[in-house]
Amino acid sequence: MTLYLYLIISAIIFTIGAYGIITQRSGIKILMCIELMLTAANLNLVAFSSFNGNAAGQVFALFSIAIAAAEAGIGFAILVALFRVRDTINLDNINILRW
């Protein structure tokens, strides 16, 4: 039963992240939600790895943690550059491009 517990927790975390991306308007909060979604996938990988008894999933999780860190770095860099030009990172105000 423990595997199911981990899967349920990771599904809940993933859903919280997805919900946040849809509803939140602040750039920082959206970045946090993306990290939640990636973390949910990592939890899945590690749980399956322990359940299947092979290490491939944990290796994958290490790769994805490193990548998530790089991704957050780039996200914050873009937000800083945007803040310098526009004085806001509220997504409601970022609407030059539309049809």
Partner: protein
């Protein structure tokens, strides 16, 4: 193991690091030479990819070299070569050129890794390398709010799609106990029963790849990003980065579909039809040419996705050929838009909306080479022979018609008819721009088109028409690649 087969990737990675180091040492003015160095490196890898015939697998079967990977590497290298040549002028005297060229080279390496990936880990790492480099490239004009907005939107949607993809991959790993794609396929062949978890994993993977391919309903980022980014980067994104989603889908989804024997063709049929119709209809009402090209590129993604509907050797070959043709046509068209931007800015430094259709009035007189090239690209995108766009569409539509007759399926026939009607519809908005270019009076003086732009555009025109006039070798290459996709 014969690491010589990986020489193009190694060469481009080392070159990216060298470009950054040279950038640290030389003055801002001498940074203009970095574009030539990057172009030379890309030409070397292109020659190498075209010249080698070997196959092999590396790093515990995480990367494979086969006809499929070589064909898509050809696309990626050609696209970034065009983008780099055009950037020599576009980013001339920019003091951050070293970072720009290093990022383009790394993005190319990432796309090439995706093309060779035979393991979920290498697939994900390649995707992220290419995506992160292009997030930064999209926002490279860091004083321009539109460019930054494009980068932010691209970043948020791109990270969301990465998260969906990773979640799907984690479920696949949980079901099969392996991250190696060959092992995963073997597992599904041995256990054909479809469980609920398989379907959920497949849905996540389709959504993750669908964002990269910009299929409707995962397309919202594409028009904003292509419009706001610098035009040469839009060329790289629309022509290169999008094909990355297709090669991953060919490798993972088609194999999985064949192995699972799942009737997912309905899903892909609906996605493809909605995508091409939506793209073409919205493109009609656009005034910004970059945005129009973005919607037309969504429509083209719809055509390519038809390859997933029947998954025969010929349909996949058609999809791959259309991907190659689309890369040349769309890359060239975005670079031609960059020339128009240059022309407008040299008239008036503070011009707004530089890619508005009004600025294309009389382009045939103001910039004859660019106007003629755009004329060729637009006709090729609409599928007029002899062009790469025609060959791709012909093989693709013909293969679906054959399958419709063979299986006596009305639905396949309806899909083909909708696709052909869509091609006819797309001529309307291409012809509108051609009318602006050749019929309306010019809005200013004739300009001298800068040499790097002309070289890039002429190369794309030669490729587009060349494939149309002499398609045989390309069709053979695409057929070999399709054999790999189907695991024959």
């Amino acid at each position: 193991m014969n690491y010589v087969l990986l020489a193009p990737e190694i060469l481009l990675t080392v070159l990216a690091l060298i470009v950054i180091f040279i950038g640290l040492l030389v003055s801002d003015r001498s940074k203009n030479m970095l574009g030539y160095i990057s172009a030379a490196g890309l030409v070397a890898s292109l020659v190498y990819v075209l010249g080698t015939k070997g196959e092999g697998s590396f790093f515990y079967n995480a990367l494979v070299i086969d006809p499929l990977s070589q064909f898509f590497k050809l696309i990626f290298i050609v696209v970034s070569l065009l983008a780099v040549i055009a950037s020599i002028k576009y980013f001339e005297n920019n003091r951050n050129q070293d970072e720009y060229y290093a990022l383009i080279l790394l993005a190319t390496v990432g796309m090439m890794v995706v093309a060779s990936a035979n393991d979920l880990v290498s697939l994900f790492v390649g995707f992220e390398l290419a995506s992160m480099s292009t997030y930064v490239l999209a926002g490279f004009e860091k004083k321009n709010p539109a460019s930054l907005e494009a980068a932010l939107k691209y970043f948020i949607i791109g990270s969301l799609s990465s998260a969906l993809m990773l979640f799907g991959m984690s479920l696949v790993y949980g079901v099969t106990g392996s991250t190696n794609i060959t092992a995963i396929i073997e597992f599904f062949k041995a256990n054909p029963a479809v469980s609920g978890l398989d379907v959920i994993a497949m849905v996540f993977l389709v959504a993750g790849f669908g964002f990269k391919m910009a299929l409707v309903p995962f397309h919202m980022w594409a028009p904003d990003t292509y419009e706001g980014s610098p035009s040469v980067v839009s060329a790289l994104l629309a022509a290169g980065s999008k094909k990355m989603g297709f090669v991953a889908a060919f490798r993972v989804l088609v194999l999985a579909l064949v192995a699972l024997r799942a009737d997912l063709w309905v899903t892909f049929g609906i996605l493809a039809v909605i995508t091409m119709t939506y793209g073409n209809i919205v493109a009609i009402s656009q005034r910004s040419i970059k945005r129009m090209l973005a919607y037309s590129s969504i429509a083209q993604a719809g055509y390519i996705a038809l390859a997933f509907v029947v998954t025969t050797q010929m349909s996949i070959a058609g999809g791959i050929l259309l991907a190659l043709g689309h890369a040349l046509m769309k890359g060239g068209a975005f670079i031609a838009v960059a020339v128009v931007g240059y022309m407008v800015l040299s008239d008036n430094k503070n011009a707004k909306n530089i890619d508005d259709i009004e600025n294309f009035a009389g382009l045939g007189k103001r910039a004859p080479i660019t106007a003629f090239a755009l004329f060729v690209f637009f006709l090729a995108l609409a599928g007029i022979p002899p062009s790469a766009g025609f060959i791709g569409k012909f093989v693709l539509f013909y293969s679906i018609t054959i399958e419709a007759v063979r299986q006596a399926s009305t639905w396949f026939l309806i899909v083909v008819i909708i696709a052909i009607l869509n091609s006819a519809l797309s001529i309307y908005y291409y012809a509108r721009v051609i009318r602006y270019m050749y019929v309306l009076p010019p809005a200013g003086e004739k300009i001298k088109e800068p040499a790097p732009y002309v070289i890039a555009i002429v190369l794309a025109v030669i490729g587009t028409i060349g494939i149309g006039l002499y398609p045989q070798p390309f069709i053979e290459m695409a057929m070999n690649a399709a054999n790999v996709v189907l695991g024959v």
